[in-house]
Symmetry: C2
Subunit: 425 residues, 2 copies
């Protein structure tokens, strides 16, 4: 009987996510894992009842296997993943991938090829781990125009920021602890400099704004410059500092997509997202504001999304054409604005000489650049007779702000501009 | 060309939700509203460019119209909605409905009929308004075993509880205000006694637990007995009081489904869901804990889900069979446990005679019924020389708790048992 035909998958990669997928799929006898490509066939693996006879060390054996219906790629990176998936698509196979870097850098040609070959590419696991976000945007929310997405998409940085805030300690100290606990990698650049979040928001913004977003035009700034002082000042002012991935449509329908730290008001849902949790808040019409939160990484949460995608394809394969709503190729390229063109509120931390009138002088400089100040706080005087001053601005154009900051830097009463962090509305 | 064929829908009901659907669908020229059934054709309606020639006053004209592909039902109630939808399904039409009462009371025969007739019934709007929840559970989370759902599914009661907590005023006073503002109906029973939440959790539990849940076996308790004192005591103890719809699997795979107020610890996401917002938190394996929040009602949020469902059906209609993953008929009937069999922590507010040893006596009574106390607080003594005592228990079986409460009521030192509210873990 046709109904009893097992769907055959080929799995490329058997690391954390791949192992989770194998374990979870044992509960779904209608799915058969036909082959698994690994680097080292002889490596001991912590998977109960793993049939080692299905392991292979050439992933092209999977993408070229005529019996395999769905290729599941969980190796990450663009090379050799891109070539593998191109081959798989050309061979008529559906794809499930958790590879955010590949999607950000090579998504469009891959999606175009998939469309031409009438196959589906699903990638729920690539963005926000276990949280369902791609599917809801593509289906239940399909009647919406989404204007804005604000998201916490990287668990490592959110863990570090949460810990810095709770314990009042420095970035360097928390990073070290996180590395010891395995929450941060030995080379943490991909996470702490915002690359991981940028990959994810590139794809999420493309889907949500329904325009092709170019990863190379996304402004990206990490969390390495956030100080314990910034954390403390933010707290006193009623904010938390979070690494935010943001995508919004400007009034003239251009795309404002970026990743950087933000002061998030305590009343915002994102302010209560702690530790390794991820969250996506979207604003659209007619739905209004919807928030999702959950585990953004890890063996099982990621496997949840990968297996969900496998089941979606498997259970619709009889219908004769790929999932019509999950089409990912976008003809329209977004007009992305640069960070200089964006409009934001800002937190600015300055060390100034403790003279009367220094706050007045600051206000005068900002005023000359068309920047109104919402609050100016002097945070005590230290031994060198310098004062910490914390400023929150009203909405200002970033190019104006940069001019003001340059002028501050040349002012003899300003010892240092310590930091500048954008503030969420 | 086949691709250019418009999908024709018939809309039954043009109240708040129906109007939102008509307005939003103007953005989707591939969907044609062929007929709209209303009570009064001549009523003036606030919809721009409404073509009044498509209005009719006999909804059977819609369900029997051979040209209509999808029937959208937004009138609510079981009569005549059930008969209408049965006719529509028998006539081979797909259904989109926002009718939680109908689904709770008549969902199973309707889903069975839909399966027999090879048509889809989608109802994202019936549960948690604009929040995508049915679709994610059925698709992206399909690889999960969901063990527990805790949700705020009624905006009116959450508005009232939020307001009681913020302003420290009585239920009666807030209800009056809410009625004046249009947030509560003149007869608020459906909301404040938990019927609305019970309808919604019946359907949500059926999907999440993958077993048919009987609305008649769901324990239901509303918010009318919550006092300003309870709110105050809860706050002091680090909780908020919320009307929670709960569905969980017991260790022996029985279904524990109920609606009642709960003390929610501040650290829980549900504690920060304020006003008319809805939220669903689900626990499953492999995903872990996922939370969704957003607008649970209203013209546009509800229209978002209705239009999403219309688009899902419309865009898959060419594929020759209904959405395979959205199948809603369940063969297995849940074994639902009664409230007496549940195990909970409890908040108990008691007015006692102010004599030495009354707290000891309370502890002794609870102990005799196998109930350990987590905390006992005496909250001041009033003019009649009685003391307010607030108790939080450890996990206890509800039948044991009821025995203890009965004994308290007969104790000469206990003036009154003021309230008993379950406490979230």
């Amino acid at each position: 009987m046709v109904e009893n035909k097992k769907i055959k998958i080929g799995l490329i990669g058997l690391g954390t996510v791949g192992s989770g997928v194998v374990k979870v799929l044992t509960g779904f006898p209608e799915i058969e894992i036909k082959k698994i490509a690994v680097k080292n066939i002889n490596k001991k693996r912590n998977i109960e009842n793993l049939d080692t006879s299905i392991l292979c060390d050439n992933p092209f054996d999977i993408v070229n296997d005529p019996e395999i219906d769905i290729v599941v790629e969980v190796i990450g990176g663009t090379d050799p993943a891109y070539e593998l998936l191109v081959t798989a698509v050309k061979n008529g196979k559906h794809i499930v991938t958790a590879n955010k870097e590949l999607l950000a850098k090579k998504g469009e040609p891959l999606f175009k090829l998939a469309k031409e070959n009438n196959v589906s590419i699903l990638y729920e696991a690539a963005i926000a781990g276990g949280i369902p976000i791609i599917m809801p945007i593509k289906t239940t929310l399909a009647g919406n125009k989404i204007n804005k997405i604000e998201a916490i998409l990287n668990g490592t940085t959110n863990y570090i920021l949460t810990k810095m805030e709770k314990d009042g300690v420095s970035y360097e100290q928390v990073l070290k602890e996180a590395q010891e606990l395995g929450y941060a990698e030995t080379d943490p650049t991909g996470d702490v400099e915002g690359y991981d979040s940028a990959y994810k928001i590139a794809t999420l913004a493309t889907i949500a704004l329904n325009q092709r977003v170019d990863i190379n035009k996304i402004y990206r700034e990490g969390i390495t410059k956030i100080s314990a002082n910034d954390m403390q000042f933010a707290k006193e002012l009623g904010y938390k500092i979070k690494l935010i991935a943001l995508a919004k449509l400007t009034e003239d329908n251009k795309a404002d997509v970026r990743v950087h730290p933000m002061l998030v008001p305590l009343k915002e849902g994102l302010a209560s997202i702690n530790g390794v949790t991820n969250s996506v808040v979207l604003d659209g019409f007619p739905v209004g504001r919807v928030m999702m939160a959950g585990p953004g990484a890890g063996e099982f949460p990621t496997a949840s999304s990968v297996v969900g995608d496998i089941l979606i394809i498997a259970r619709s394969m009889g219908s004769g054409r790929p999932l019509p709503m999950m089409e990912c190729h976008h003809e329209v390229t977004a007009q992305q604005i640069s960070i200089e063109e964006t409009v934001n509120k800002y937190y600015i931390s300055v060390t100034a000489v403790n003279t009367p009138g220094v706050i007045g002088a600051l206000g005068e400089i900002f005023g000359r650049h068309n920047i109104s100040l919402a609050s100016v706080l002097q945070k005590g005087i230290d031994k060198e007779n310098t004062a910490q001053i914390v400023i929150i601005t009203e909405f200002s154009k970033e190019s104006n702000l940069n001019s003001a900051i340059n002028e501050l830097k040349n002012n003899p009463n300003i010892v240092r501009v310590n930091n500048l962090i954008r503030v969420m509305e």
